[in-house]
């Protein structure tokens, strides 16, 4: 369960301000966040993940108040509970697919990089049909394959929350459907929570809920 209440957030030296009274996402649900650009959809994901701390209000995830945690606690919480999927994949070009997927384990001691983990990577990679691409660098993959690598990295830690920022933004229609099917399947199997920012209204049918930021601001 994710809940945000009485949120007020603004960036330093910027006129942008995000105001949210109440917003919650239940476990096992898939929520699409839509709305025009510049309305704070990505900021919402950053607030949920604890990358940003609101100036006012509370962010609670699985009963824990994220905004009250220290930097290190928030990092650990994010690593162990959340998986990120980005529109531009955010893969490191100098690492091969295997190392990109294992990156969370290489940058934080909280996650233990054990030998058995590579088998787990192979399982998820097989599920995403990229098991034969593990030795390649991202530059040698198609857009759809890159997004599947990014999803593999996000799912490797078995997160209970997936935060996806326009995950299909750079993909062709066929890949869009594939990627969303993978994410939806994961949510169903693991009873996880999916919060996905999207501009693609064709995909909204697959979600349980849709949060329209335009409406939130209009009603406010």
């Amino acid at each position: 369960m994710i809940s945000l209440s009485n949120i007020s957030f603004h960036y330093p030296q910027s006129n942008f301000r995000l105001q949210l009274d109440e917003l919650s996402f239940h476990s096992g649900t898939k929520t699409a966040v839509v709305g025009p650009s510049g309305f704070g959809k990505t900021t919402l994901l950053h607030l949920i993940s604890g990358i940003y701390i609101p100036q006012n209000g509370e962010v609670e995830v699985h009963g824990k108040k994220v905004h009250l945690m220290s930097d290190a606690e928030r990092r650990t919480f994010r690593l162990t509970n959340m998986g990120f999927v980005f529109q531009d994949f955010k893969l490191l070009e100098y690492l091969n697919v295997m190392d990109n997927i294992l990156l969370p384990y290489r940058i934080n001691k909280v996650l233990k990089l054990e030998k058995a983990l590579k088998n787990h990577v192979f399982e998820i990679a097989s599920m995403l049909s990229i098991e034969d691409k593990l030795a390649r660098n991202p530059g040698n993959l198609s857009q759809g394959e890159r997004q599947r690598v990014a999803i593999c990295r996000a799912l490797l830690t078995n997160p209970s929350i997936i935060l996806a920022d326009e995950p299909t933004g750079n993909l062709d229609p066929e890949n869009k459907q594939n990627i969303m099917r993978i994410l939806f399947d994961y949510v169903s199997k693991k009873d996880a929570t999916l919060v996905a920012v999207t501009h693609d209204h064709e995909l909204l049918d697959g979600f349980d809920h849709v949060v329209d930021f335009k409406e939130i601001y209009t009603s406010a």
Binding site: R75, L91, Y94, P104, N108, R153
Partner: protein
């Protein structure tokens, strides 16, 4: 730390060219002052050793540096000759003995050095193959001459003509290689040693030809009477000396006036050296006598001054290079902001990112130091080249 090291190494490996250029640049800047210091100190040791083991040099008045360099390194810089009779004069002093040296020609770019057997004893040179030269026209070659030209005992070596188009000039002489010297890590390895008379033959002061008393062809013999026989240009000259034609070789004029470049004088003891130098200073003996160590010392002092100037230049270039490298690093971190953002988002802390970037720098530095080590180790190989190119 291990994971950060892995990520840092993988980043550098992926950007191979960039990493190698940085390693090369940092390494070169670190190496230059240290390498130059080693080069100069090893050159100094090598040059001083050669000079210190040569007590005195006698030569024509003029540049003492040229005289020392010519005698020690067979450089063939233009200096006035001294007559051969000088050898007899210095030996007659009873204060030591002289070793003649004459080096004016080359054979396939290696200097031909005319001397006598005392030289080899004095320098403690030994043979790797064959024997020392016994007759004119024979030569003993240094180890590098043998390896570079791929010649050995039984082969021959021809002196290089000074001017191909000067028909009246000096003709090449074919010399028989009778010995190859063992390596001595000195300029002797790069010389072709002959008897001084062989050198005079190359100069044209001595020659061999058909016996004019036996020739009746009037197109060769232009004049014959009881006192003299004159031959024309058609007379066949020998361009090689062998057992068969050795007797036909002869010298014209007074051999005591024949030229030498220098004499190495080996005094019996310190007292003899002092007396001998005194005689030159008082004008009892003509020409000049030099102490090679003093001359080379003076030469090296000038080199050290240049070294100090170069060190200052390297320091400035180093500061400029490291400023540019710092800028490159700063710009590269800005260019990598997406990558750093990804790491933060996924769960990395600021220190972790700093650790990875710091380790990249450490790896580049370590790589540069390995490069410096390699260059430093190789510096010794270039000492002789450095001496020949920049000092003498």
């Amino acid at each position: 730390m291990r994971q950060s090291l892995y990520l840092a190494f993988t980043y550098l490996k992926f950007h191979k060219v960039r990493s190698l250029v940085l390693i090369f640049s940092i390494g070169l800047i670190l190496y230059l002052p240290a390498g130059l210091k080693k080069l100069i100190s090893e050159s100094e040791a090598l040059m001083l050793h050669r000079a210190e083991t040569t007590p005195l040099i006698i030569g024509a008045k003029g540049s003492s540096t040229d005289l020392a360099i010519n005698t020690l390194y067979f450089h063939q810089e233009s200096t006035d000759p001294i007559p051969k009779k000088m050898l007899g004069d210095v030996n007659a002093t009873g204060l030591g003995y002289g070793i003649p040296l004459v080096s004016m020609f080359k054979a396939r770019n290696f200097p031909i050095v005319g001397t006598d057997s005392e030289y080899f004893h004095f320098r403690q040179l030994s043979l790797a193959a064959g024997r020392w030269m016994g007759y004119i026209g024979e030569c003993v070659i240094g180890s590098e001459v043998a390896s570079d030209l791929k010649i050995s005992v039984g082969d021959s070596l021809v002196s290089s003509p000074e001017n191909y188009f000067d028909l009246a000039g000096i003709y090449p002489l074919k010399m028989n290689v009778v010995g190859v010297m063992a390596s001595s890590d000195s300029p002797d390895d790069k010389a072709v040693f002959v008897d001084v008379k062989t050198n005079w033959v190359i100069m044209g002061l001595g020659h061999g030809h058909e016996d004019v008393a036996q020739i009746i062809d009037p197109t060769i013999i232009t004049k014959r009477d009881t006192n003299e026989v004159q031959a024309g240009a058609k007379l066949r000259m020998q361009n090689a000396i062998s057992v068969d034609n050795l007797d036909s070789f002869h010298f014209h004029g007074n051999m005591e006036d024949y030229p030498l470049n220098a004499l190495i004088f080996v005094p019996k003891d310190q007292k003899s050296e002092t007396i001998f130098r005194g005689r030159f200073a008082s004008g009892d003996l003509p020409n000049q006598v030099i102490v090679p160590k003093e001359v080379i010392d003076g030469l090296l002092q000038r080199i050290f001054k240049i070294k100090q100037l170069l060190n200052a230049v390297f320091l400035l270039v180093g500061v400029a290079t490291f400023s540019i490298l710092s800028l490159i690093f700063a710009l590269s971190i800005r260019l990598r902001k997406d990558e750093i953002y990804t790491m933060f988002t996924i769960g990395s802390g600021r220190w972790k990112v700093a650790e990875i970037i710091l380790l990249e720098m450490v790896l580049l530095f370590v790589g540069s130091m390995v490069f410096v080590g390699l260059l430093y180790g190789m510096t010794g190989i270039f000492v002789e080249k450095f001496i020949n190119t920049f000092i003498i």
